[in-house]
Amino acid sequence: MSLAQSVAAPAEAAPQPRRGGWRWAMARLLRNPSARIGGSVLLLILFCAAFAPWVAPHDPLHVNTLGRLLPPSATNWLGTDEVGRDIASRLIFGTRYFLLICLIASTISGGFGILLGLVAGGGSALADTLIMRCTDMLLAFPYILLVLAIVAILGPSLWTAMAAVGIAGIPGYARLIRSVALTVKREEYVEAARALGASEAQIILSTVLPNTISPLIVYLSYATPIAALSAAALSFLGLGAQAPAPEWGAMLVNSRSFLFTAWWAVAAPGLAIFVAIFSMNLLGNGLRDVLDPRDV
């Protein structure tokens, strides 16, 4: 350490208090009212999905032809549907479908979107042109029409509905990641890394990818509810989850003909969809407030 002494280090400015870390972001998120509300509802949904058999008062598939379209009561909290199944229990089991759809659809759109975005933004100009023109093509179709077309090709089922919604979400992610990659590639520290011999692949993986996390989280919280809503719409059209499954969209379609005689059978799944999507949006707003670099 003789060098350290010969080149004496000065007492340079003291480090600033730590901002922008994950713990700091979490603390800010917990103080954000909309994130708190949205987050709590989502936690409740998560809890219901995990412990559905214990939380639900009845079997969601148990048919009771004698107790059809009963109004809400102490035994059937939210009443029964057209074949006498307990709506509350079906809603609780429905959280599993809801979360499954969110997970699968976001994994498909996110996974492929990130990959394509990184290749387009970080790779050659040819790859960029090819990928971006393909996403332009996908985006040229109205979203729901694109989803319908994919389901028409793959055949109607819960899984194809999730795949269709996932595929239709790819262009959005790809564009977001590409734009981040293009911005980060212009940064001076990328130029510095390149000057010191970092390869392009290394720059993309160790520099560009970490920089996409914060915009990605925010985008995820916006794109996921749209995907979930579209999947529910597909089920409503009979192209997603099939008949006895307690999926919220499918529940809506079965009970819609009794809207005037048994409004609760329609209102309950409709409200469930609304509350779940709305709380995701609330959490998304909170996340954006916390992670927006202009605020930090």
């Binding site: 350290a4 280090a9 600033q16 901002r19 001076e188 520290y189 130029e191 000057a195 970092a198 160790s206």
Partner: protein, 334 residues
């Protein structure tokens, strides 16, 4: 070790191209410190970037050779080029804080090249990174290695950059205005550190700067650039003592001298020529005091070749026409 021959780098294409580097010849010997000095826009940064082929579109290296140990860097395949960068030739930049990845701990940024390219294990690389941090004069290196770039000062950031750049013990370090963005009190310390580390590792240093005082203090040899060309090139003692080129004289007169009482610093009148136009004659002629006195018509019409006022000292000026010529006059500069 490194030889630059007839290097030309242009920005833009066609007739409007800016000739930022316009036929530069340079040589750097192992272990020496070469200062490249000149005013803003003279092409010194572009020259430095061209050596490592870091010129992005619309810039383009249109001619010349950069020979490192006899291999032409400009003809290298991408893989060989990335292998060269950092391991043989490293570079540091003007804005140290912007040169560090904000999302990565500084210890990891030093350890990464050691691990990926130096073949060290994760633990070894980290230990070596901490050692390197100590060697560049960061106090508390073990603790500081875990800091993020926003937690350290500009001076410390440049120390970290020096540690990263020298981690793989390159043969040559190019420092592009390494102290311009720093506080005056920190500047001298960073320069001293650079010289010290390069001497210890036997690394040659190319110091790009607009501060002729820095060159006087640090360099063995100096190349003075003007309008994309090297106008004077030789030992620091020779050139700063008795500049042969009128532009170097002007530069020296415009710099303050420590301890001397000067009524007023003398600027060089006029500005740099339009680099999109082909130059006939000496680029400095329109601003040149000596030319105005001598009235040499040759200055305006014919580009001056390199004359040798003394061995190892070249000056591109017709007023040196009495001295022996270094080489036959190059083909007319476009």
């Amino acid at each position: 070790m490194l030889e630059v021959r007839g290097l030309r780098t242009q920005f833009g294409t066609g007739a409007g191209a800016v000739r930022a580097v316009n036929g530069v010849d340079l040589a750097i010997n192992p272990g020496e410190v070469l200062g490249i000095v000149g005013e803003s826009g003279c092409g010194k940064t572009v020259l430095a970037l061209s050596i490592l082929r870091l010129i992005d579109a619309p810039g383009r290296i249109v001619a010349g050779q950069v020979l490192f140990e006899g291999t032409d860097v400009l003809a290298m395949r991408p893989r060989a080029l990335t292998a060269l960068r950092g391991r043989d030739i490293a570079m540091i930049f003007q804005q140290p804080k912007a040169s560090l990845d904000p999302l990565m701990r500084i210890g990891s940024q030093i350890a990464e090249p050691l691990r990926l390219r130096g073949g060290r294990s994760r633990a070894e690389a980290w230990r070596e990174a901490v050692e390197l941090l100590g060697a560049v004069g960061i106090p508390n290196p073990e603790e500081k290695a875990r800091a993020y770039p926003h937690e350290i000062s500009g001076g410390q950031a440049q120390r970290v950059m020096i540690a990263i750049a020298l981690a793989l013990r390159p043969r040559l370090l190019i420092a592009d205005e390494p102290t311009t963005a720093l506080d005056v009190t920190v500047q001298a310390q960073i320069l001293e550190l650079l010289r010290e580390r390069c001497r210890v590792l036997g690394t040659a240093l190319v110091l790009v700067t607009h501060d002729i005082g820095v060159v006087a203090q640090m360099a063995d040899r100096v190349a003075v650039m003007y309008a994309g060309r090297v106008v004077e090139n030789g030992k620091v003692a020779d050139i700063l003592g008795q500049p042969a080129h009128p532009y170097t004289r002007g530069l020296l007169r415009s710099a303050p001298v420590m301890g001397a009482v000067q009524a007023r610093l003398r600027e060089i009148p006029g500005g740099i020529p339009d680099l999109t136009r082909p130059l006939s004659g000496c680029a400095f002629a329109p601003r040149c005091e000596a030319r105005q006195q001598a009235g040499a018509a040759r200055c305006d019409s014919q580009a001056p070749p390199s004359f040798l006022p003394r061995a190892g000292w070249q000056a591109r000026c017709w007023l040196q026409a009495g001295a022996p010529q270094a080489q036959p006059a190059p083909e007319a500069w476009a």
